[in-house]
Amino acid sequence: MSEVLVLVDHVDGAVRKPTYELLTIAKRLGEPSAVFIGEATKGSEVAEKVAAYGAEKVYVVDDAQIKGFLVAPKAEALQQLAEKVSAGAVLIPSSVEGKEIAGRLAIKLGSGLITDAVDVQSGDGGPVTTQSVFAGNYTVTAKVTQGTPIITVKPNSAAPEESAGAGAVEEFTAEVSEAAKGAKIVASQPRQATGRPDLNEAAIVVSGGRGTGGDFAPVEGLADALGGAVGASRAAVDSGWIPHSFQIGQTGKTVSPQLYIAAGISGAIQHRAGMQTSKTIVAINKDEEAPIFELVDFGVVGDLKTVLPAATEDVIKRKG
């Protein structure tokens, strides 16, 4: 069975959940090998984590020389590793960085690329991917027909399955060209933690839009009562009420939680693109003609400023 490389998604060595999802998928396709590009001293700690989800090998690529640069050096490292081990496939998290690494890697390896897969299964002649396209209006299955399949996978595309792998650490020294060091990270300001679940991973998302009038307290209140994450429409972000990192939609995040509650959001196609595949959709809007009501499982025509606080109180009461 050939090795399937999984690029480890991490922040300073802290492994993020999409890594385990990718390892679970990799196991369907071949022998999972994790690729950790980071501080070499954290390699064994990372190896222990990823081995619990089936990683047989863990390639540790020290990033001391490349940490301060965007994307290109990581693509070079992955290329060299994929060629060395004759990888059967390369799985990469569907983040901004992940997709750009994948784009460069595809050209380098002369291999086909599929982005934003929401499912990957093994098929005749290679992995078969499922994607959700056109604002979630279509489902597309596809496969790579040339070279080593490179697939970027969206968060929550598989339930992580624990499965003990050998987790054998192997250091890999990548030859990074000077040309790859052209885009330098001059400054970086970490985002402040909100204390709420990560938007990409949350089972419940409560979003606010123009109808909040800029006051997100009712939205946050209900999110906290339900243990959910807070999101926003582009209108709310453009108004400066909430940072762009909370935006759901075409130019923000795509979420697919168990429950999505849209408060004061009309439901333009751009917003629908980011939430249409949610399992259960609820909306609260003053305008009964709002297009969001076409999508909902349950809708309340009313003012979110009264409905949300009352619902929050009731949720807290019911939860006891």
Partner: protein
């Protein structure tokens, strides 16, 4: 400075987008337009020109079918100086890999005339939305890529951008030439003025074929794409849900009763 802005002609996102029998995007039967997200790149290019002064030239570059010339025209109306439309029947059905090849060859051809300093792109197309062409183009040109900029500043051959990532806000620096993509946070795109619409009619608009770029027709198109769509399925419409009116505070208890019935509470 010589700036090329890549503009894509896409099916209108608010129209009923669909696929052809060969699983390619229907680009003819659905009204098309300049991808909204590329308008931000045009806008930022025009702002760079306005700041830099008269010697900066902005050219809109589009790869697409006959009708895609509309995307170039829109960019000309917004204020870019020149247009290049690469059109060739063989390109139909190309994947991002082949598209990036055609774009790279077009950049090289343009550069043979006047050195290209900056290639600008939107953050993604509104149809395929892969968001990988800037990276692929940079790889092919062997240039750095600086992407997802919300603020762009240049000084001589130095570029600084701000980008809001998932875990951090970053400032990225690079030296021209680069491929740069900008987000919809970079600033609202201007509407063409009446003057701009009239002026656009007189602006140079070149049409290039694959032969002009030295690209073999066998390197592009659906049949040589490195990935293949096997099937497309329209998502079943969501069944109509229950909608209640909030009257005298009836909305909240109805909402929580629904959430409880679905075991969310």
């Amino acid at each position: 400075m010589n700036i090329l802005v890549c503009v894509k002609y896409v099916p209108d996102a608010t129209a009923d987008r669909k696929f052809e029998g060969d699983n390619t995007v229907d680009r003819v039967g659905v009204d098309g337009l300049l991808s909204e997200l590329d308008e931000y790149a045009v806008e930022q290019a025009l702002q760079l020109k306005e700041k830099a002064g008269d010697d900066t030239e902005v050219t809109a570059l589009c790869v697409g079918p006959e009708k895609a010339v509309d995307a170039v025209r829109k960019a000309l109306q917004m204020g870019v100086d020149k247009g290049i439309h690469v059109v060739d029947d063989a390109i139909a059905g190309s994947d991002a890999i082949a598209t990036s090849l055609v774009l790279a060859k077009a950049v090289e051809k343009a550069a043979a005339e006047t050195k290209v300093d900056l290639v600008m792109c939107g953050m993604a197309s509104t149809d395929a939305a892969m968001s990988v062409v800037p990276a692929m183009l940079a790889e092919r040109l062997a240039w750095p890529q600086v992407t997802m900029a919300s603020v762009v500043e240049t000084q001589g051959d130095q570029v600084r951008i701000k980008r809001d990532g998932d875990v951090a806000t970053e400032v990225i620096g690079a030296t021209l030439p680069i491929v740069l993509s900008v987000t919809d946070q970079s600033g609202e795109a201007r509407y063409p003025s009446f003057k701009g619409i009239m002026a656009a009619k007189k602006k140079p608009l070149e049409t290039w074929s694959l032969g002009d770029l030295g690209v073999d027709a066998g390197q592009v198109g659906l049949s040589v794409a490195w990935s293949a769509v096997e099937d497309t399925t329209a998502r079943p419409p969501r069944s109509a849900g229950e909608i209640v009116k909030d009257e005298d505070g009836s909305g909240a208890p109805a909402l929580t009763a629904f959430l409880a019935s679905k075991k969310f509470i």
